[in-house]
Symmetry: C2
Subunit: 81 residues, 2 copies
């Protein structure tokens, strides 16, 4: 069966996010003053061939740990559909 | 009130995603052979000060259209929490 894994990778809360700060400045310059914080991460969709959702999640976990997320600076959450 | 807008920005389905293809090659080299497709986009969290969720969503929409997403190449979905 084919599963879609949606992986959200965000910078850790404890760390500064300079890209987010820059975008917040840009939004403020465009007149959007009500935005108080911006954090920017990655969203990765994997199309996984697996027997069941548990196996698909394991593959997505392995991919996240080995390549997709840098766990020193980022946290990831996986959702299988 | 403070709302969190989660904005998912992905390359349009009709377009190639060279970054995703490169990552798929990397995953295959690492021995993860069951992954058939990879698409990479952005995930942006906005912290928005607004009276209600509808207003927060409007602000997030405006931010997405004006700055965050390039609608020629990307599609976005907004979730307010």
């Amino acid at each position: 069966m084919n599963f879609l894994a949606e992986i959200k990778i965000m910078p850790l809360k404890e760390l500064l996010d300079p890209q987010g700060k820059a975008v917040m400045g840009g939004l403020s310059n465009l007149g959007l003053k009500n935005i108080e914080d911006v954090r920017i991460g990655k969203h990765i969709q994997l199309s996984i061939e697996a027997d069941n959702a548990v196996e698909a999640k394991q593959i997505a976990e392995e991919a996240s740990k080995k390549l997709l997320a840098n766990q020193v600076m980022e946290e990831y959450t996986i959702q299988i559909t």
